[in-house]
C-alpha cells in the first residue's frame, strides 16, 4: 500500500475532529451492542401479566378503565382482556372482551370498556409473538 499523505494545518484539525466524532460513535455503538448482549444473556423470565382497574377521573364518562402490566422478561402478543359480571355465587354471567396487540416486558398498556355496568377485569390469555 502506498504511503498515506500526511495532513497539516486545517486538514489536521479536521482529522482530529473526525476522530473525536468517531470515538463518540464507537462508544455509542459498543454501548448499544453491549446492552443488547447483556440483556440477551440475562433475559429468560417468562411473561408475568397483571391487570388492575384505574381510578375514575372526575370528567370520566363512566368507562371501566384498566391497565395491563407485563412484569416478566418476555413480550406477549394478542393479550385478551375481558370485563366480567358475576352473580351472587361468583359465577360469570356476562363478559365482554378486547385484544391488545402487544405488551412488551416492563411496560404498561391502558384501555377501557365503555359504560355497561361491568366492574371486574381479567386477562384471559396471550400468544407468543
Amino acid at each position: 500500500m502506498a504511503d498515506q499523505p500526511r495532513r497539516t494545518g486545517p486538514q489536521a484539525l479536521a482529522e482530529r475532529i473526525e476522530w473525536a466524532i468517531g470515538a463518540v460513535a464507537a462508544a455509542l455503538v459498543v454501548a448499544v451492542i453491549g446492552f443488547l448482549v447483556v440483556e440477551g444473556l440475562a433475559r429468560a423470565e417468562p411473561p408475568d401479566l397483571r391487570v388492575h382497574l384505574l381510578p375514575l377521573a372526575a370528567d370520566d364518562d363512566g368507562s371501566l378503565r384498566f391497565a395491563v402490566e407485563n412484569r416478566g422478561g418476555t413480550a406477549v402478543s394478542g393479550v385478551v382482556v375481558s370485563a366480567i359480571r358475576r352473580d351472587a355465587d361468583g359465577a360469570v354471567t356476562d363478559k365482554r372482551s378486547l385484544t391488545i396487540d402487544h405488551v412488551p416486558p416492563g411496560s404498561r398498556v391502558t384501555g377501557g370498556f365503555l359504560p355497561s355496568g361491568f366492574a371486574e377485569v381479567v386477562v384471559e390469555g396471550y400468544v407468543d409473538p
Partner: protein, 292 residues
C-alpha cells in the same frame, strides 16, 4: 475530513465560515443524517419494525448490527463519508454511520411518539437497534450521493478495491439486504404469499430476473452498463443477474438469522413468501449496481 475532499471551497461564495473544518464536518454529518432519513423513513414508519424492537431476541438484534459492520466498512471503502485512506478510516466512518443511524432513528421515533420517556430502556434500545442498519447504509450513501459537485469523485484507485466480480456481487448483496430488510418483517409478505398461486410465483420469479437484467443492461438507466465481458449476453446474464437474484433470494435466510418472522410450520406458504421477498431484494440488488 479534508475540506477539499468534502467539497467545501474556502473561496466559494459561502464565505470563510463554510470552509472551516468544523463547518465541513457538520455539513458532512448533516448530509449523512439526510441519507439516513431517506433510507430509514420507510421502515421507521412501519409498525412491524417497532414491534420487533421488543419481541426480537436481544442477541439477534446485537448480531444484526455486528453483521452490518463489515458491510458498512466495505461500503465506506468504496464510497463513504470521504475518500478514505485506509481501513482504520473506513472502520471509523462505519461507526459514525451506525451512530448517525441510531441518532436519526431516535429523533424520528421520538417525534412519532413511538419511543417516549418512561418506556423501558430495553424496549427503546431494541426499537432503535431494529431501525439502525438501513439508516446506517443511508448515512454512508447520503454522504456520497448528496455531496456538492466534485466533492465525492471516487479515486479510481480507491474504487478498484470493489471493482471486480466479487465487489459487484457485494454491492448487489448490500442493495438486496437493504430493500429486503425494509419489507421482510411486514405482514404483507405472508399475505401476498397466501394470495399467490404457484403460477403467480413462477411469473414473479421470471419478472424479477427480467427486471433485474433490464435495470442493469437493457434499459440504459444512468449508471447502467453495456455487457461487461464483451461476450454473449447470456454470460453476463448468468454471472450477474442470475447470481444476483440468488443472492437476493438468500436475503430471506439472513432474515431468519436475525430472527425476523417466518412461518416454519407452513412450508408451501413459506416457499411462496421467499419468492415474494426475492422480488424487492432483486430490485434492490440491481439498483445497488446502478447507484453504487
Amino acid at each position: 475530513m479534508d475540506p477539499e475532499l468534502a467539497g467545501a471551497d474556502p473561496q466559494d461564495d459561502g464565505g470563510e465560515r463554510r470552509g472551516t473544518p468544523a463547518w465541513v464536518q457538520l455539513a458532512g454529518l448533516g448530509r449523512a443524517g439526510g441519507g439516513a432519513l431517506i433510507f430509514g423513513l420507510p421502515i421507521l414508519m412501519t409498525r412491524e419494525l417497532w414491534w420487533l424492537g421488543f419481541t426480537a431476541d436481544r442477541l439477534h438484534l446485537a448480531l444484526l448490527i455486528a453483521v452490518a459492520m463489515p458491510l458498512l466498512v466495505l461500503l465506506s471503502h468504496r464510497l463513504g463519508f470521504e475518500q478514505t485512506f485506509g481501513w482504520r478510516d473506513d472502520l471509523r466512518d462505519a461507526l459514525i454511520a451506525v451512530a448517525i443511524g441510531l441518532a436519526t432513528s431516535a429523533l424520528v421515533l421520538a417525534l412519532f411518539g413511538v419511543i417516549a420517556p418512561g418506556m423501558p430502556v430495553d424496549e427503546v434500545v431494541g426499537k432503535l437497534a431494529m431501525q439502525t442498519v438501513p439508516a446506517s447504509f443511508g448515512a454512508l450513501l447520503g454522504r456520497s450521493q448528496f455531496g456538492e459537485s466534485g466533492a465525492d469523485q471516487v479515486d479510481p484507485d480507491q474504487g478498484r478495491a470493489l471493482a471486480g466480480y466479487g465487489g459487484q456481487l457485494f454491492l448487489m448483496a448490500v442493495g438486496a439486504l437493504y430493500l429486503g430488510l425494509s419489507v421482510a418483517p411486514t405482514d404483507e409478505m405472508m399475505l401476498i404469499a397466501y394470495l399467490m398461486t404457484p403460477w403467480h410465483a413462477l411469473a414473479l420469479v421470471a419478472t424479477s430476473i427480467a427486471l433485474m437484467h433490464g435495470f442493469i443492461y437493457a434499459l440504459a438507466f444512468g449508471g447502467g452498463r453495456a455487457h461487461a465481458t464483451g461476450g454473449p449476453w447470456w454470460r453476463d446474464f448468468y454471472r450477474f443477474t442470475v447470481t444476483g437474484y440468488d443472492g437476493g433470494h438468500q436475503d430471506r435466510d439472513r432474515r431468519e438469522v436475525v430472527g425476523l418472522p417466518v412461518e416454519p410450520e407452513n412450508d408451501e406458504a413459506d416457499e411462496q413468501a421467499q419468492r415474494v421477498l426475492a422480488f424487492p431484494a432483486a430490485i434492490g440488488a440491481a439498483a445497488a449496481r446502478l447507484i453504487l
